[in-house]
């Protein structure tokens, strides 16, 4: 299966390599570099490459390429999913997945990789299991370790590896038992030039942070489970219970995890909470253009729209922007040609507006792309999933429970 892994940074240096079978020379990466160069944008590098003797499957995460070398037929998604799992694990351990952090913890990362795969086949990918084998570094522990000479490596087989609940470690103890759930719904939408919705849907995710002692068995039920159209679960969720009763019954992993992802089925159109009026034009005659954007609230049902931000990808020919914003601030990055307008809270009385002129090179082609991000806290859309209750079995104590709802823009995009 997975033969080797190379971590490559943005500028094309290999800064970590790991081989699970015999060693493969890093010259194999040359094929990748070639493709990388051809693609211009790192996003455009094809994930699967064929070379005379090997196959290269790569992912691009956090400005890093995770490049795996394959020698025989294997499901490409298997490899891709695993590579993302590696990135997730690194993020989980060190807080972020970047070149600097990996270089600083290179030994731990190497040990993690050693544990995650055996002979190219995934061995332990659950973060709860890994954390028992290789403890994540904390400041306190590193101090203690240097003083006492004890190690980061556990010497017993993690219980999770053997039990039927591989995602939970045994013997968890907390003084404050708490379980928090964030119900985050994202509106994915494409609006066309005139502001009409071309495509809109709501995708949701329940992020959980569960810190409970022992082996709690939780049941989460919803007020309106009918909304859920398509769901995917963390392995801990009992599928049969869901099928028959529409409740989530599970023994949670310890710590943060994604409980479920869902798609909201909506018969009617998704209500977009804001509208955008925009006009952008480039004059054929002179080296300039004009931009005018107004944003207003729509169907927010009395809730405020916060953290509004508009990102505009300008055509390459736009040299500079001279704009005035009635609210918020704007920045224009000359190298990436990205205009960012940070609006903040949307004021329905005085609609935010950004207008002004753009200076361009003479030849101009293509239209800018808009991407908007916005966040609506506590905003209940018509089709919002609501949690009705959380019950706990199997343990005696009373946990502290909390649910937070959040609606925000997912891939929200305005066409020009």
């Amino acid at each position: 299966m997975i033969h080797s892994l190379f971590l490559i940074n943005h500028s094309g240096d290999i800064f970590l390599e790991k081989h699970w079978k015999s060693v493969i020379s890093r010259s194999v990466c040359d094929y990748f570099f070639e493709a990388r160069e051809k693609a211009v944008d790192p996003e455009n590098v094809p994930p699967v490459l064929q070379t005379p003797h090997h196959y290269l499957i790569s992912i691009y995460r956090g400005k890093l390429f995770f490049l795996s070398v394959i020698q025989t037929e294997v499901a490409p998604l298997f490899v891709i999913e695993f590579l993302h799992r590696v990135a997730d694990t690194i993020q989980d351990y060190f807080g972020e997945c970047s070149e600097g952090i990996i270089k600083d913890n290179i030994v731990t990362v190497y040990e993690l990789l050693e544990e995650m795969l055996d002979n190219g086949f995934p061995l332990a990918t659950e973060s709860n299991v890994l954390k028992e084998m290789i403890r994540p570094p904390t400041i306190l522990r590193s101090v203690v370790n240097t003083l006492t000479g004890s190690s980061n490596v556990g010497d017993t087989l993690p219980t999770g590896q053997l039990s039927n609940v591989p995602w939970r470690r045994a013997g968890v103890k907390y003084t404050n038992n708490e379980a928090y759930f964030d119900v985050i719904e994202e509106i994915d939408a494409i609006l066309d030039k005139s502001g009409t919705t071309v495509f809109a849907e709501i995708q949701g995710v329940i992020e959980a942070c569960v810190r409970l002692t022992g082996m709690p068995d939780l049941t989460l039920s919803f007020m309106n489970p009918r909304l859920l159209d398509d769901v995917s679960f963390h392995p801990c969720v009992r599928f049969k219970r869901w099928e028959s009763e529409r409740v989530l019954s599970f023994i949670p992993p310890d710590g943060n995890f994604t409980l479920m992802n869902y798609h909201v089925s909506s018969q009617n159109l998704v209500a977009i909470p804001v509208y955008v009026k925009q006009s952008i034009s480039f004059f054929e005659t002179g080296p300039c253009g004009r931009l005018d954007i107004t944003i207003g609230p729509k169907q927010t049902m009395g809730k405020t729209v916060e953290n509004m931000m508009v990102t505009i990808h300008m055509p390459k020919a736009v040299l500079n922007a001279n704009l005035t914003a009635t609210q918020g601030t704007y920045t224009y990055d000359l190298t990436t040609k990205v205009l960012v307008w940070d609006i903040g809270k949307l004021n329905p009385q005085k609609l935010p507006n950004l207008r002004g002129s753009l200076s361009t090179q003479l030849a101009i082609s293509g239209n800018p792309r808009y991407i908007m991000t916005l966040k609506l806290s506590q905003l209940m859309l018509v089709d919002c999933l609501k949690v009705s209750r959380l019950d706990m079995y199997g343990e005696k104590y009373k946990p502290f429970k909390g649910v937070k709802y959040l609606t925000k823009a997912g891939k929200f995009q305005v066409r020009t």
Partner: protein, 1111 residues
Amino acid sequence: MDVGLSSLRSEAVGAMRTAMVSAENLQLTLKPELSQEEQALTHTSSSPKDAHKAGNEDLKEMLESNKESLKLEAMKRIVGLIAKGKNSSELFPAVVKNVASKNIELKKLVYVYLVRYAEEQQDLALLSISTFQRALKDPNQFIRASALRVLSSIRVPIIVPIMMLAIKEAAADLSPYVRKTSAHAIQKLYSLDPDQKEQLIEVIEKLLKDKSTLVAGSVVMAFEEVCPDRIDLIHKNYRKLCNLLVDVEEWGQVVIISMLTRYARTQFTSPWTEGATFDENNEKTFYDSDSEEKKEQTEAKPYIMDPDHRLLLRNTKPLLQSRNTAVVMSVAQLYWHLAPKHEVNIVTKSLVRLLRSHREVQFIVLQNIATMSIQRKGMFEPFMKSFYVRSTDATHIKTLKLEILTNLANEANISTILREFQTYVKSQDKAFAAATIQAIGRCATNISEVTDTCLNGLVLLLSNRDETVVAESVVVIKKLLQTQPTQHSEIIKHMAKLFDNITVPMARASILWLMGEYCERVPKIAPDVLRKMAKTFTAEEDIVKLQIVNLAAKLYLTNSKQTKLLTQYILNLGKYDQNYDIRDRTRFIRQLIVPNEKSGALNKYARRILLAPKPAPVLESAFKDRDRFQLGTLSHSINSKATGYQELSDWPAVAPDQSVRNVEVIEPVKEWAPLVGKTKKSKSDDKFYSDDEEEKEEEGSASSGNEDSSSSSEESDSESEEESSEESEKTSTDSGKSSSGSENSSSESESEQKKKKKTKKAPQKKSKPTAADSDSDENGNGPVAQASSSSPESSSGSETDSEDDSDSDSLAAQKKKKSDAKSKPKVEVKSKKEVSLLDLDDFSPAPTNAPKSSFLSSSLLSDLEGLSLSNISSTMQVTTPSFGPVKTYELLHHMTGKGLSAKYHFPRQPCLYEPSMVAVQVILTNSSDHSLEEIHIGERSPAGLNIHCFNTIERLEPEASVTVSMGIDFSDSTQAANFQLCTKENQFSVSIQPAVGELLMPSTMTEQDFTKEQGKLLGMNETSATITMATANTSSQAISKQVLSVANVGVVSSSQNNFHRFAGRTVSSGALVLVSLELKESSSALLTINTEKSVMASMLLRDLKQALTQA
């Protein structure tokens, strides 16, 4: 001094590098070696050479010191070096000494080092072997496992025998974790020494028998790597693997599923019978258990799906909800390659869901969808909008989405897609815009209705400012014109005008070719274009030159008067061109068209050769032939055969002997049981989730149905026989009391014959798995009650004396029935059928509530209506239900109920307590380990709620269950009835929420009465909607089935074929509810509901619409 020296050195290094670079430029072939050397150089340049050496010396010293912390520090630095890809092999002797260290972290780091360098330093590596051998005997399973891991990772051929021994030993280890490691070691040993194959296969065979979910994935992986062709090893483990699948870790699932896909293709016959129509809609298969589904299929065609085949499909389905995209994809490909065509659709949603994932995942999934969408448009059409391109997508994602949209285009959605394409053409991403134009071209050729529109659109694009767009348009227009050249001389002229402004060679060549091909349609312009081209011939690209020569030749043949000289000039230019292709072409053309003495016979045919009508190019998908590869594989992704790819074999014409999969041992059948830990599972969950038991119970219930039904006993018997033969074969194999294969096949063939006899059989919903609440030894108390509710229908009218019994004294009645159920069918079947069915005690005939009679019953009843003693008007009598799709709902889960669990269902019978009440049957089960006392109903809300409670149950033993009847007056609203279910110690709030269809009672009336009543309920009282029926639902049987499954109404016999009428009354107020369905062309239909209760009407309409439209 130092500074000077280092600067000197860096200068030297710089010089060296430039030398290298120039050498590289000169001799590109040597590049890899050079770059390595260069790398070495850069390393030394970062840390000067002697310092580097000193660093290693330093490490050696640290390793040899006595202090653990120093050693650890050194090892950490060494592993850091390994991770960075730097060579530290010279430290091997110093490192290997520490292999026996007590410090676990140090030990681990040494292991890491060993695995990396052992291959290079084989002799020294041998020093460490004894340590591992000792560790293999360690009492700690973790240490045993890691010792085996490292031992097998040391790729030193000499230790092969040791490894072999260790693997064999570990394969028999008590710890599943160690066994898992041994499965991994098998692959390593095999790659090290393929000669060990035979011995390794033995180990694999042994490990395949392992029941631990931990081992399953790894051993199948080993199987795939070592002996993928030894399919015979799988037979005995097939069912176990299927059943374990949900509990295996996600990576193992992927491997097992792909192996099982290959296995199934060799062992089962094809479920894709051509021309077979399916009455069944897919949503339903989702909820129904499989035995019923099997029946339906067999009804449509003689094909019978192997129960093992079905087992695989059923057990993989829950995995579509996995968070792991690889698992979802592998289930999708399994369905694609194995499931009957109409079942594949269930994977669509999950695949579309994966598009929300990472870019790379999207890429692979889109590739697979592209291949799928060519063959099965319908699968993804409802999700068309999910494939709309976002400007933030990467180019390859965009192109794939475009591909899929083009594949999905049909007459109905083409306008939407074209509108979408218009925005894409304006994209900043030029490659993508060009691809869009290609896509428009493909749509235009595929869908003849829009060819003209597309062509006009493309012509407009010719005036686009962007060159690539124009060029691509020209190329596409050329192809389109070729398909229908007659009426488009205008466009050709327009393009000729544009010619001067177009610089892209491909586009210029395309225009020239068009000119030549259709020169007779543009007789004036073509020679002029040739004139211009003659002027610029030398400056053109090769591809354009070739077309100029072509154009000249064609013009010469059609219009030699005007173009003779021009042609000769061009041919002369071509003769001395640098490119030999052009010289060749020129020479050929000259001989062909210019008559001279040598040219011979060919000359006469020049016109026919050059101006022959040419077939239009077929614009087809780039994914057209991808389906030769298995979906989801690497080979599919790169569109060429990858090393180690194994072809998916074609279905065998005749299925190999299926008895090979029978196993002697009793396998615990596990469903998607919650992963709570083994003890818990077997204790509580099996009851709810195990299909096996449920089947048994169903069978028991059916048998009681048989006994009750006297009029239709013949038919139902034949059915139950067929069913039982299937079931018993399956269950018997499951439970290990193996029946021989020959017997299986005989019983199967018999059942086939039986099926032919059958004329009509109303599809019948089986109760959901959760219905099976009681324990197996009880042989289905609960379901018996269900059956008693539906059995009266089959006995058409001679109903419910048993029911009455059960009301007054339900327990006793059920006991009686239970015993009946146990004894009777046995006798019956045995007397009728020679085949010895082994386990009749447990598996009595199957769950068919003689659905055949269900339609008859209503008409029969209307015949008998004169005999009715009821006081309702004789024309519209409320009848007994004609159909009993028993859906069971959960009332109280045993977790919430502290051991008491309750489920309820609507038996669809008139309530005995009060006519305005809806009858509800509640099955109470005690899942706790102590008996529950005084189960009764407590407070209720809303306060005025009129409930007829069941009598207090004094005592319910552990594992026992009891069925009680209740009546609830819902007052014709779907508002939930809330009440408290109390035991001696506890009170639980529960609620029963009726579906709107359950608030009705069927009523029988003639067609005239129906129309008369309908006439009274017009205007405000009429709700109607036009719906698009799913194709599966167009038969009248299917319609009745769907309607009856939603609402408890009676069928009104109809004289017209395209009209379906159903009548019912609300239970509480007795208001008439009339449902009529008028079929129109092309599967659309008008659904009308007439009733005074307008709220109910709209709810009912919604439910019916959903039932009828889903496909």
